[in-house]
Subunit: 543 residues, 2 copies
């Protein structure tokens, strides 16, 4: 079973070092320490395990090191920055494993851009050598790219010409949409196995600058200091420590402090419950700093994030997830008010950003989500985002009208989706006034009010409830899992598209298509044949 | 071999009737008149042949009937509007045929929306009965949808629950992005085999209104008249006649008056040449009306459109297309000036709109396009759009500097891509000033100037030309055809996304993915098993 908890003293593939406002993340992949013994991670190539460490390092810089203002990403291997995703690993992976791997690496790259946009943490890719495929895609996620000009080091996206697949981690999108490389040059570049070096790489905007070996280190240090100076992060710490989550793991359940995930394998469903906090909650930045990673929103969303990741990777047959909440709704609303009031404090900002990324992870999880809103639930404010993220929500219409939901300032802006809109704005796409009106509503909504307002999908009464929710889940779990994945990938993202949605929509969808095709994964497909005797044999029909 | 030329007196599946400012397009599919005898087109279900007639009718209304201001799309079958794409046809089709079929139907639906947006021709879907799948997607392309409320007639997208695939013609995108159906209701609706009827269909915004049978015809007629009154089309004709193109067809070539397509099967390449006009060209709307479909831009682009469609459908193994132009560059520029000056005239507007749609068809054609700009070429203005649409362009750098390209007002706005930008704006995505500067350039650009300006990809000189273009084509033709399709689908559309690019990017890519999956097309897949004994058997793993 793959887990996502790690920490710097356990890293096998990265060194994380600190020097005042600068952190340096150096890739130094251990060939023999892949997640599987079936491949060697040569030339700083990576598998999911390498990326789990990178994702962990990014979180820790944000939460544990507020004094860091810029991050240099480089390599400790001579003349090699990174050779990209390990091809033997990809060749040996199932379709689902490839897709999940690419999704996770995409989310990690987007976390770099999120840190730049929202934390003021600037990233500099220092390409000290060959930078191919996923290696270049990692560089593309940084704010700036410096390349050593040693007559040998090049950036490249050789996936299409060499392996018959696409760069799977946003490369094509970022080349044209982020770096504004001209589309015909991008076409040429993306078919060039050897890539582009030095001056031409700068001219084509593939990198920001290239320096001879003798001047490279100094140029990187200088530019890193300049980037750090642009940051609005605190001048000094302390940060907070992200301790291990340590869920109780059994065959049928993952149990955390605020999250429970129960697996029903015979029905191919899971129950995901988030527990609201109880009692007095920290209400000032100082108290939140003291509470650290035990502050409920950070703790609950870290647990939720971990549960989603484990579900994705380790439970592929669980197709439908029922989301519930329980506990003290008012405590959630009080916390939301605190978060909204102190968002400009660095730690509160980081907590809110983490909640936003976790909810995006949910949006991008290829499972059907139904929210069941029952008496005793706590679907309020930031927890109501779970119901808004779900494909549908069912709210028990009780005669006593005690089953309620509530909105908070956290529904009004901070928790945007990949499309740049809040979930309420996405839900009421042509009704801007309606969103304002709902946010201005005083107090909670009972089931009838919530249904009338369009905040929940259905509100069956006591007579219908049991049958309706049972049938809804049974029907969903019986549909083609592929059709549901495609349906959700389209319906969850109405409205505008962003670079982020383009990466997960257009680019990933095409990559998944290619990952299925015999020309890539058939016995004579390019991905199968690479590095072995013989050349790929293609079915030449274009589609 | 499938061809795309037809005319109303040959239609097998549609009746096109006229009544003053109203045209009525009535679907009445002949069961036994499918493109293949392997299936029966029951219940107004359709295959490519049905859609070719629809596309033809739309063109003729635009060009031949300027007096038509609104179009009612309905059916002559009792209690059935349209059952969507024929499932037996889909089941028997290759992957490529399914993808091409969906692409063509998508382009036809977008042509309806294009006519509404640009010609002021309003479309009313009059759903006189069951409207399922592709039938509802046709309705979604119309400006408004009226549904008969007879206790039986429903709109539905049953593809996912019934067939394990997605609605392939824009349905999911249009439901949420065009009609703003709430995403959770869209999720429920899209999993409901029986669909949604009457009042609920109106409440959920799936249709605009529902009327009892006794009032339906009258309501349709009334609303059609109201829509017609909103149009800015001319009060009366005459229009022009779209005569058959009648290319000379041999095994290796399609030869039209202004377009030649030569197929090199052993190299899997084609040569596409567009010939500029010569001599004096019509310069006023009256003269253009007189010239009719023989006016060069309409004639040349109709031929180009036809050649692209035949290439797509009939020549799947031809992966790389070299585009050339020849003839009188100045005549093209003169025509461009005429088109730009008289764009507000209905016919000139239609011609420009047709050119725009044809170029979009090229953008969406899953073949690699290289433009070769050689001495004697006519890559000027609207013909230079072909070079801008190509994945790359190579311009012969002659010592005499006689090989030139030129821009015109037609590069400045009218020929937008699916992303809403011109090809120049897309090419120079972050350089708005540069686009203006290039458009203001006086006179043509020689090869050196064009390369420096970034208007062409490469400009090899005489020493390098032959080898460079030969190697470029050979290398391209040797790559995985799937990887090239995915690469081009991403790099051709940088910048903003629109409903149109969402349909071809996000939705189509996911549909193509699902069309490959054993859960749809395997022996026990949903698409294979439908209508036969037994139920589909799914691999339950979610990806």
């Amino acid at each position: 079973m793959i887990t996502f908890d790690t920490r710097p003293d356990r890293y096998k593939h990265w060194k994380l070092t600190f020097d005042g406002p600068l952190a340096t993340l150096s890739m130094d992949v251990r060939e023999d320490a892949g997640l599987s013994p079936d491949y060697k991670l040569k030339l700083n190539s990576y598998d999911l395990g390498v990326d789990i460490e990178l994702a962990d390092a990014l979180q820790r810089i944000r939460f544990e090191h507020p004094e860091v203002h810029a991050v240099v990403i480089t390599s400790l291997k001579e003349r090699i920055f990174c050779a990209g995703a390990n091809i033997m690993m990809l060749r040996g992976s199932s379709h689902g494993a490839k897709v999940n791997f690419c999704k996770y690496t995409n989310e990690t790259r987007l976390a770099i851009e999120d840190a730049s946009a929202h934390s003021g943490l600037k990233f500099l890719a220092a390409l000290n050598g060959i930078c191919a495929g996923g290696g270049y895609e990692l560089a593309l996620a940084c704010d700036e790219i410096l390349l050593v000009d040693d007559g040998n080091s090049a950036v490249s996206l050789p996936e299409a010409p060499l392996l018959g697949v696409l760069p799977g981690t946003g490369g094509l999108t970022r080349v044209v949409d982020k770096r504004h490389v001209r589309r015909d040059l991008a076409d040429f570049f993306s078919t060039l196995v050897e890539g582009v070096k030095g001056k031409r790489a700068v001219e084509w905007k593939l990198v920001d600058a290239a320096y001879p070996t003798s001047k490279f280190k100094e140029a990187v240090a200088k530019r890193a200091r300049e980037l750090a100076a642009m940051s609005h992060r605190p001048a000094s710490g302390p940060g907070i420590t992200l301790n291990p989550l340590n869920p109780t793991v059994t065959d049928g359940a993952l149990t955390y402090s605020a999250v429970t995930l129960t697996i029903n394998r015979d029905k191919r469903t899971a129950d995901l419950t988030v527990h609201a906090p109880s009692g007095q909650q920290p209400a000032t930045p100082d108290d939140i700093l003291k509470a650290g990673d035990q502050f409920w929103p950070l703790r609950a969303f870290r647990e939720l994030d971990d549960a989603l990741l484990r579900l994705r990777i380790n439970e592929p047959e669980i197709g439908t997830v029922v989301i519930r909440t329980d506990g003290d709704r008012d405590a959630v609303l009080a916390i939301d008010r605190t978060l909204a009031a102190h968002r400009s404090h660095w730690l509160v900002g980081e907590i809110v950003a983490f909640m936003r990324r976790t909810l995006k992870r949910l949006d991008l999880t290829a499972r059907s989500f139904f929210a069941f809103i029952e008496p005793g639930s706590a679907f309020a404010g930031s927890l109501f985002e779970l119901a808004l993220a779900a494909d549908r929500s069912y709210m028990f219409h009780d005669d006593a009208e005690e089953n309620v939901i509530a909105l908070s300032p956290m529904n009004a802006g901070p928790l945007t989706m990949s499309n740049g809109l809040t979930r309420l704005e996405t839900r009421f796409l042509d009704e801007k006034g309606k969103v304002q009106e709902l946010l201005a509503h005083d107090g909670p909504f009972n089931a009838g009010e919530a249904e009338d307002a369009g905040l929940v999908t259905f509100a069956p009464d006591e007579i219908d409830w049991d049958d309706e929710i049972r049938l809804a889940v049974e029907a969903r779990a019986a549909f083609s899992p592929d059709a549901m994945t495609g349906l959700e990938a389209n319906l969850r993202f109405p409205g505008p598209e962003t670079m982020e949605t383009k990466i997960f929509g257009r680019l990933t969808a095409w990559q998944n298509w290619i990952f299925q095709r015999p020309n890539a994964v058939g016995d004579k497909g390019a991905l199968k044949v690479y590095g072995q005797q013989g050349r790929p044999e293609f079915d030449w029909k274009r589609t």
